[in-house]
Symmetry: C2
Amino acid sequence: MEKQLYSDFELYDIVTCGDQEELASLKEVTLQGWVRTNRDNGSIGFIEFNDGTYFKNVQLVYSKDSKDYEVLSSLGTGFAIEITGEFRLTPGNKQPFEVFVNECEIKGACDDDYPLQKKRHSFEFLREIAHLRPRANTFQAVYRVRSVLAFAVHEFFQERGFLYIHTPLITTNDGEGAGNVFDVIAHDSKSPEDFYGHRVNLTVTGQLHVEPFALAFRDVYTFGPTFRAERSNTVRHASEFWMIEPEMAFCDLNDNMDIIEECIKYCIDYVLESCPEEMKFFNSMIDNTLLERLNHVRNSQFKRMPYTEGIEILKKAVAEGVKFENPNIEWGMDLQSEHERYITEKVVKGPVFLTDYPKDIKAFYMRQNDDGKTVAACDLLVPAVGELVGGSQREERYDLLKAKMDSLGITEGLEWYLDTRRYGGCVHSGFGIGFDRLLMYVTGMQNIRDVQPYPRTSNTIKY
Amino acid sequence: MEKQLYSDFELYDIVTCGDQEELASLKEVTLQGWVRTNRDNGSIGFIEFNDGTYFKNVQLVYSKDSKDYEVLSSLGTGFAIEITGEFRLTPGNKQPFEVFVNECEIKGACDDDYPLQKKRHSFEFLREIAHLRPRANTFQAVYRVRSVLAFAVHEFFQERGFLYIHTPLITTNDGEGAGNVFDVIAHDSKSPEDFYGHRVNLTVTGQLHVEPFALAFRDVYTFGPTFRAERSNTVRHASEFWMIEPEMAFCDLNDNMDIIEECIKYCIDYVLESCPEEMKFFNSMIDNTLLERLNHVRNSQFKRMPYTEGIEILKKAVAEGVKFENPNIEWGMDLQSEHERYITEKVVKGPVFLTDYPKDIKAFYMRQNDDGKTVAACDLLVPAVGELVGGSQREERYDLLKAKMDSLGITEGLEWYLDTRRYGGCVHSGFGIGFDRLLMYVTGMQNIRDVQPYPRTSNTIKY
C-alpha cells in the first residue's frame, strides 16, 4: 500500500474542520518531522513530534508491538524521522488525537551536544543559536506570525489596487545627510566611486523613489529592507529592518490617516484570525495584556490631535505633578517615548494620531501648513509602544520645496525629485511602518532581536 | 450634491463586469488623474485621461457648453486634474464609454519642457527619466505586471503553507568567495570591521540563511533583494535584483522539480488572468510570439534530461553541422546560453530540466550523486530565454559537506551551517528564481534595465 503522507497542519485541520468522511479516511498515516521529546517507560513510549507546519505538536505513541520499537526507543531530541502508524482520535485527552507508530525511519540523527534540550532557554541564549532557535516554541510562533503578517500587508494593499514597487536599496541619496548610512563599495574597487561612478550607500527610505510612482499609478507601496548605521543599542533599534511605505496621489493628510487606521486594523484582524494558537501562546507566555490590547485597538476609532494640543496636555500634566524623565515640555520639542505613551495611555486611552508637528523637527518633504510653523505630519501613537506609524502629506509646491531643499543643501542629486513637482505633481501623501516594530506590537515581543530571523545590530554579527 | 469619485479601473470594471443596476447608477462621475493628450478642434475637445489604475485611458469630451471650457482647452500633456462630468456609454465606438466634462480643476500644472510629449520614445531615452517613465504606456504595463507577478509568487507559496522568511542582506558570508560582492561599511567607521566587529558585504543569496528555517518549518521561501558586483554589461545582468528562494525539508530533487514546474505555471496563469490588457499590449508591441510561447509552457509537461544526455545531443548536433559560437562540446563544460537554447528550442521544443551536472561547475552545497562525478542539480531551460530557474537537492551528509567546504577553504564562519547537518538535518532541496528575469520572460521585455523601477547596473546611477 502506498504511504499516505500528511503534515501536522493537515491532521489538525481535518480533526478540527474536516467532515466525517475525511476524518474516517484517516487510518494509516505517514509523517515526516522532528522529535521534540521522547520518553519510553518500558512498556509504552511517547514522542512529542513536530514538522513545523503547525504550532501544536502531534503525540506519537509506540510500544514493543511496534515493528520498529528499537529505533523508536533510541530516538533523541532533534532527530528527523519518518513514521507510519495508526491515527487514533483521543477525545477527552489533552491532545485530540495521537498516532500509534509502527514503522520509523531515521532521516537525520542529532548529535548529543544539541543545544535545544527540553528545558526553557533564555532569549539571550537562543540569540546565540539563531540557526536553531526557529525550532523553539516561541520562535515557531514568532516566525509564523511574521510570515502571516507580511502576507497580510501585501493582501491589504493589493486588494485595494495598490502597486507593489521595488525601490532600490543601493542609492546615491543619503536621506538628509545625517551620516548614519552604510556605504557600499564593490569589493574589487579602487575607489568608492569606481563601480557606479558615484559614492553610494544603502537606502534609509524608499519614499523619495516611490513618490514618482504614485504620480503615475496613484496608489503604490514599497515593502523592503532599509538600513541605518545606528549605534544606539536599544531593544527597538536594528541596523537592517523591513519597512512598508505606501504613497497615494490625490490623497491629503486626513485620507492618509484613514488608510493607516484601516491598515493597522486589517493587520491585527488578519493575524488574530490566521494564528489563533500562536496568539494564545503570546498572550499567556509573553504579555498577558496582549489580546485585550489588540482587540481594544481593533475596535477603537483612532483619535486625531494636533501636536500643539499634545504639548498643552503634557505641560498641564507636569504642572499637576506627573513625573517625566524629561519634564521640560516646550512647543517645538521632539516628544520622547514617555511623552507619547502618556498621551496614548493616560489621556486618550487608545490609539491617537498626533498631527501638525513643528516643521523644524520633521523631514524636508512634509507639506508646510498655512501657519508657517507646522507641517502636515501625522504620527500614530498606540498604548504600550508609543509611535507605530509616521506619515505626512508631501510638499507638492515646487517653490516651497526647492527653498527648503536649498536651505538644507540637499538639492544636488535630487533634481529629479523636484522635477516631479513641475510635471503634474498633485496633492499626495504617504506613511511608513517599521515592519519589525509592527510585529513586536502584534506579538508582544519586547526585543527586535527576537523578531528578526538573523538580527543585525551593532557589534554582533555571526551569521 | 456630493461628488461621486471613481477610478479608471472602477469605471471599466463596471462597464465590463457590472450589473445593469450598477451601470445605471453611473451618472455624474468625478475623476482625478493626468492628461495624456488634449485636442480641441474649436467646437469639441477630447482628452485622453489616465489615473494609473487601469491600462486603458478614459476619453473625456468637452465643449463650449462645459462650465470650465477655458480651463479644459488650456490643459497640456501631463497636467493633473480633477473633473466632474456625465458618464456616457458609447457602444460601437472604439472606447466603450466617455465622460462629458462639465467642471475641471487643475491639481498640478505641467511645465512646457515635459519630456513625455505625445510621440514614441526609445527605451534608451526613457531610461534617462526613470522618475517619469512609469507614466509611459510600456512602463504602465511593465510595473503593473511586476506588482501582480510579485503577489502571485507570495500567493503561490502562502497557499501551500510555505513561510516567508526575511533573510538578512548584510552578511559575513560572501558566497563562494568569488570576490564580486559589495562591501558594506558604516559611513562614520574608522575600519570596515568597526560597526559589526567583522568585515561584511551584501548578500549574494539567502539560501544558506534560509536552510535552517526549512529544517524547522519544512517549507519556507525568501523573496528579497540580492546583489552582485557584476561588471558585465549585458541586457540580463543587474547588480541589484530580487530573488525568490524556496527551501523544502523532506524534499528530493524530483519533488523539487515538481514544485518549480507548478510555480512557473501558476505565475504565468496568474499574470495572463490578472493583466489581459497588458499582456495583449506586450504581445503586439514587444514580442508577438509571447502569448503563444507562454500558453505552450503552461500546457507542457516539463521534460527532465540528465546533463550527460544534453552533452551527447550537443555533440551530435555539432557533428551534424549545427553551428555554435563555442562548438567545443565536452562533458564537464558549463553550457552557454546558445547550448541551452538549442536543447530547449530545437530538441525538446519546450521547457526542460537539465539535471545531474558535473560537481565541479556547481555550488558546494549540492548533493553528490553516487557516481562521484555529478551533483543533484536541476536547471530549468525554457525557449527564447535559456535558464530560468536553478535548483538542487542539498548535501545533507555532514562528512561529505565538510570535506567539500574544507577543500574550498570556506568552513570558517559557516560552522553554524554545517551544524544544521548534525542536528536532525534531513533530505532537503530548494531553488532560486531571479524575479527580474522571470518578469522579462513573462512580458517579453528584452533588457533588465526596462523591468526594474530604478535599474542598478555598473557605471550608471542617477537616482
